[in-house]
Symmetry: C4
Subunit: 253 residues, 4 copies
């Protein structure tokens, strides 16, 4: 990453571990949110898994800093990663822990489906939508005046928000829920940007290649012409040499 061979090697080694941890986190978090009546021992295990995975992601960040050539530069260019890691420390922003997971899973997804834009977009939207539904339900459930109190409500709210329809029959009322909503909106816009950029570069690439193929064909043709001109020149030099010989013949020195 950023021409850092040691970080790249680390990334290659822990890539699948991080993906596995992200999936584990997601399962534990979903369980926690969807089964609030789980009881003492189960709740403690799930909380431990969720907090543990988050801590491991923090460790991964620290390792990558320590491997970086220029550590300050690494921190400066990875401020977003840092914010995603640190924000959930505030009790109110606990639900943002899932963003870390999204960013890890998204990296994996992007590497696997490079070039298959439709699949990538559908996968990302489904993942982001599922996670946002969990997070908003987690944030809203116990608020007074909350309109999002079941997972069905949360999925429906996510759907009306992603599509920007926004009927207003369900909407978050807590600070945490509004942060989730804001993240969802920003994610939607960012995704649109990624798709637009993909289409745009596919375009330019496609047309550039078509142009270069035409250019190459013409270049081949012109080189044929040059080859023939070489023959012409060789022929002319032979003729010149013969005329030389004729002349020398006539006036022997």
């Amino acid at each position: 990453m950023d021409g850092e061979p040691r970080i790249e090697a680390w990334d290659r080694r822990v890539d699948w571990w991080l993906t596995g941890l992200a999936v584990l986190f997601l399962v534990a978090y979903a369980w926690q949110v969807l089964d609030p009546a789980i009881g003492e021992p189960g709740a403690i295990v799930l909380e431990a898994v969720v907090t543990g995975v988050w801590a491991l992601f923090g460790l991964d960040y620290l390792v990558r800093i320590s491997l970086a050539h220029d550590r300050w530069r690494f921190v400066r260019t990875h401020l977003l990663d840092l914010a995603i890691l640190l924000l959930p420390m505030f009790r109110q922003l606990r639900a943002l822990r899932v963003i870390t997971v999204i960013s890890v899973l998204n990296r994996q997804l992007r590497d696997d489906v490079r070039g298959r834009v439709v699949f990538y977009v559908v996968g990302t939207v489904a993942l982001v939508g599922f996670v946002a539904s969990l997070a908003v339900l987690d944030a809203e459930r116990d608020a007074p005046d909350a309109s999002i109190t079941t997972f069905g409500d949360a999925v429906w709210w996510t759907l009306t928000t992603i599509s920007t329809v926004g009927y207003g029959d369900r909407y978050p009322v807590t600070f945490e829920g509004r942060v989730v909503a804001g993240s969802l909106m920003v994610a939607g816009i960012a995704l649109l940007g990624v798709v637009t950029a993909s289409i745009a570069s596919w375009f330019v690439e496609n047309l550039r290649k078509a142009g270069e193929r035409i250019g190459d064909e013409l270049e081949d043709d012109i080189q044929d012409v040059e080859g023939r001109l070489g023959l012409v020149l060789a022929e002319l030099r032979t003729i010149s040499a013969r005329l030389d010989a004729l002349e020398r013949d006539r006036h022997p020195s």
Copy 2:
């Protein structure tokens, strides 16, 4: 389809029959939804038509599987078709039967208007909108707290949803109605994707052709040059032959 000549032959043969069945389904379904006070015998006939057409679509799917070269591959690559067929078996998702009809009619529409993007888009939107209005009315009408209880309400709701305005004066409250709403939103986004892709490939095609035309003209010019070079070489060979003659003349062997 997918290089399956036997399925393609079957498709060509049943194409118009399927379209006819889809229209029949749509008429019966619309009648069922718009005239709920129809009374015993009529209601039974309409339900028979609707269920019968759906069963025939299932039969068509089975025939296409049996004609496929590699049956597992066919099932794997047509999972969406399978889902559209099977989901309405759940009582709650009965309204989704119309999606099958949409997908059949859409195929027909697409084949007929290939290239006329505007017409295709307007037709698809009108069809999807009409069907969504029927389905949401069917799903919502009898729900307590329902805000969509007449066909006028349903059309108005469809309009505010497709345009993503979403005033929130009307919105589905049942699970079934929300699934219809979700399908409508996804259809809208998919349609936008189809239109964008059409414009994008029109672009690339147009510019590529313009580029190729320029390339062809230049190639013609270069071939003229090569033609002239051929004349030059022929002339040189004549000169060479004459010099040969001159030389032979001077030093007769």
Copy 3:
């Protein structure tokens, strides 16, 4: 229009008259809507102006049919014009008369600002927005449960609808008002389509021209080459002729 020289001549002759009538209609209609307490004589004059202009637009349509080479073809290809003219005959769709005006003014605007896309878009949006505000106010004002009862409300509603924000604090409740809302949404989407198409053709035009300029330059270069090859060929033929002369000289026939 459509290769109909007589209709084109008629259009050129009545163009400014129609634009003037449309402006007159708009002023009278706005007055009618914004000053409902105008009293007997004024109200009758305004109604006469509005109905009169609408009748003149109908007359223009009839004249254009009578001038058409193939009248049935003209009617078939101008069904939208016909619908816009006839729909306001239904009492409920009275507010749609303004659409005729929009279509006339829009033609004028388009001819005047061809190429200045930004200006055209801003002008059309302002015009459509103003007219939609008038029409929705006209339709809603006297309805029970209406939330749009002043011109300020109507403009605010138009703004939230065009931007697809749709808070839902104001929305039409009458059939007529909903038709106005639907037209506004369709107009918004159509405008987006026009803008996209403009940008797309600007693109293709721009790149095609750039490609052709490059192609022309190369063609000039290749023609220079051909010109020089002509010189080469002429030179070679002279040389050949001289060698001929040399040979004839040596073996006089």
Copy 4:
């Protein structure tokens, strides 16, 4: 600006001063809005700063008019600047003063990040969103029936409006607040236009350059061909000269 060297010189000289004043205005305005219980002396100072900066912006406009070559033309082509300056004189449109600040800061931002579209867009959106939140809170806070009464509400409303989700749980009810909302919507659409235009010209630029590079390469090749043709012609002239010599030799004059 517009080929006005004296105005450009003035702009370069006051650029940073204006940016500083805009930041000062923003701080004072934010303080004023966010701390309404500030008490007599502080409130007077803040109001003085806000009004003073606004007056200085007016002065800057007057200086630029006086420096213009053709003053009427300057006024005509800068009507928007004039409107932004004069509208806040109406008590009801006081909140629009911040638009002046936005336009000054935006100019600075645009000059600094030229080419970094993503950064520019994110910066502009954040700035516009912050300012709109302040302005709408300022306008709404004391209205009866207001739903936007805290800065948190205002930010949340801005978010739902920019994303066009528009739940309708918060919306402005005063004339001033609606003008702010309208400006925010127009700003959103304008920004979209700027982004689209940026992508479009990046496209055309990119493809044009690729085309020109291909054209240049081909031109180089053709010039090689012409170079060789020069050699061919030189050779032919040598041959011609020799034949001359041969002929002179045979028929000495």
